[in-house]
Symmetry: none
Subunit: 253 residues, 2 copies
DNA sequence: TTAGGGCCTCACGCAACGGGAGAGTCAATC
DNA sequence: GATTGACTCTCCCGTTGCGTGAGGCCCTAA
C-alpha cells in the first residue's frame, strides 16, 4: 500500500491530480488508513497507468471512466487499442513535421518568403482528426474496393482477437435478434439492455474507427448504409428497431 | 481577405477559437468590413499557422503571444525550434509506445499477468524524468554556472532521449575520429561531411541550449573548454582539427 | 419581402486541474 | 512530552481554452 505522495512521485503526477481522480470516481484508492490517508494498492497503480495512457491520447476523463468501469472492460484489448492510437498519433506528428519542413523550405533564413505557400497547403495537416478522418473514410469507403483497403486497419488485431470479436459480436447480435423477434418494444428494458451491450462492444472494438464505420450511440444507422443493409438482410426490420432502441437508451441514460 | 468562416474551414479550427484568439489579442484580423465582419489577410493566416504549431506543442496561449509579439521574433528561427520540439515530442511518444509494448508483453491475451511489472517500470516514461536526468547532467557538467542556467532546458529530455543522443553522438564522433585518424585534411570532402553530420546532430539536440553548452556551427570550440578538453583527451588534436573542418564547412556551404 | 446563411457581441458553462487555507497525523528529535 | 517538519486531509476559489446558446444585424437569392 502506497501513500498518495509515493504514488505521485512514482507516476510523476501531482498529488492534486490523484485527489481529483478520486473525487470524480476515476481512481479511488482501494483503502484508507485510520487517519483517513489514501492507500493505493498495486492494482490501483495498474489502473493509473491505463488512465495515463488514455490521457496521453487525450480521452476525456469521463470517457475513460465509462470505458474502464464498463462491465466488459478488457485490459489486453485496451492496451492493443491504445498502442494503435498512439501509433496513429505519432504519424500525425510526422505529418506536422512534414508541413514544418515544407514551410521552412518556403522561406529563407532571413525570413523572406521565396515561394508563398498556398493557403490550403498552409494547414494541410493540423489534425482536427474528426474532420480529417471523416474525409479520409469517405474517400476510402466510397470506392468499390473499399473492403480491401479496410484490411489495413483491421490488421492491428491478431487472429485470436478477431475470433473473440466475432464471437462477442455474434452473441450480442443474437441477443438483439432474440429480443426483437419476441416483439419487444424498442424502449422496453430488455431492448435497452441489449442495445447497450452492443454499444459497449462497439466502443471496445471500434472506438477509433471513423464515424462512417463507427457504430456508436444512435448515429451509426444513418451513417453506414452498408452495415444497415447487412443487418436487415439477416433480420428485416432489426436495424430500424435498433435505431429506436438506441434512442430510447440515450434518453433513458 | 477571408471571412472568419473561410479561415475556420481552411485551418480546421472553430470560429469560436478564432474569435477567442482575437479577444485575447493573439490573432487580430487585419481588417473589418463595414458591417463589422472580421477580415483576415494572408499574413494573418501565416500567423495562425505559427500559432497552431505552438499549440501542437502545448504552449500556453499567453506564452505564444509573448513570443510572437516580442521585438526580436524571428519566424525562421521559430520554425526551426518548433521542428526540433516536435521531433522531441515524437520521440516521447515513441517512449510511450515502448512502455506499452512492454506492458502488453507482460500480460497474456486473457488478461492474466505473466510477470508483474515493477512499480517503477510501470511509469518509466510518462513525461517525466526531471530528477533522474538532472543527476546525470550534474555529474557530467559539474556544478558550474552554465549548468545551472541550462538545467531547465535539459530537464525536457527523457531518459530515452538521452540514450538515443548518446548513441547518435557516439556514432558521429566515431566517424570523426576515424576520418581524423586516417590523416584526412580538415578541408577534404570526407572531413566536411563528417563535421556537417556533427553540426546537424548538434542542432537537433542543442538547438535551444544556452551558448555555454551549445555546440553549434563553429562556435562551440571557443565556448566550452571542458568539452574540448574531453575530446582531446580521447583523441589528441581532434578538437583543433574539427575546428578547421567546421570553418571549411562554413566557407564551403 | 421573406427565407436562409453567415456574422456580430455578450455571457454563462465546463473540464482538468493548480494553489492556497486551515487543520489533523506521524516519526524523529530536543 | 513537547516541538518540529514532513505528509496528509477537506473545503473552496482561480485559471485556461475554448463550447454553446441567446438575441440581433447583414446579405444574397428566390
Amino acid at each position: 500500500m502506497y501513500q498518495i505522495g509515493e504514488v505521485a512521485t512514482l507516476a510523476k503526477v501531482s498529488i492534486r491530480l490523484l485527489r481529483h481522480y478520486d473525487e470524480i470516481g476515476l481512481l479511488a484508492p482501494s483503502g484508507r488508513s485510520e487517519a483517513g490517508y489514501r492507500l493505493y494498492a498495486h492494482g490501483d497503480l495498474q489502473r493509473l497507468q491505463q488512465i495515463l495512457f488514455y490521457r496521453t491520447l487525450e480521452f476525456p476523463l469521463e470517457e475513460i471512466k465509462r470505458l474502464m468501469t464498463a462491465p466488459g472492460f478488457d485490459r489486453h484489448a485496451a492496451l492493443l487499442q491504445q498502442r494503435e492510437l498512439i501509433r496513429r498519433k505519432a504519424q500525425e506528428l510526422g505529418a506536422v513535421l512534414d508541413l514544418l519542413e515544407h514551410t521552412i523550405a518556403g522561406i529563407d533564413p532571413s525570413g523572406q518568403e521565396k515561394n508563398t505557400m498556398s493557403t490550403k497547403e498552409m494547414f494541410e495537416v493540423f489534425p482536427d482528426m474528426k474532420q480529417e478522418y471523416q474525409d479520409e473514410a469517405q474517400e476510402r469507403w466510397g470506392n468499390t474496393d473499399a473492403w480491401k483497403q479496410s484490411a489495413a486497419r483491421w490488421s492491428k488485431y491478431t487472429r485470436a482477437d478477431m475470433e473473440r470479436m466475432k464471437q462477442e459480436m455474434a452473441q450480442v447480435f443474437g441477443q438483439l435478434e432474440k429480443v426483437f423477434a419476441a416483439g419487444t418494444r424498442p424502449d422496453a428494458p430488455a431492448a435497452i439492455a441489449a442495445i447497450e451491450a452492443q454499444r459497449l462492444l462497439s466502443d471496445k472494438w471500434f472506438y477509433d474507427c471513423p464515424k462512417e464505420l463507427h457504430v456508436k450511440g444512435t448515429e451509426w444507422v444513418a451513417r453506414d448504409e452498408r452495415y444497415v443493409r447487412n443487418i436487415d438482410k439477416n433480420c428485416p426490420g432489426l436495424a430500424a428497431w435498433m435505431h429506436q432502441a438506441a434512442k430510447a437508451n440515450l434518453t433513458a441514460g
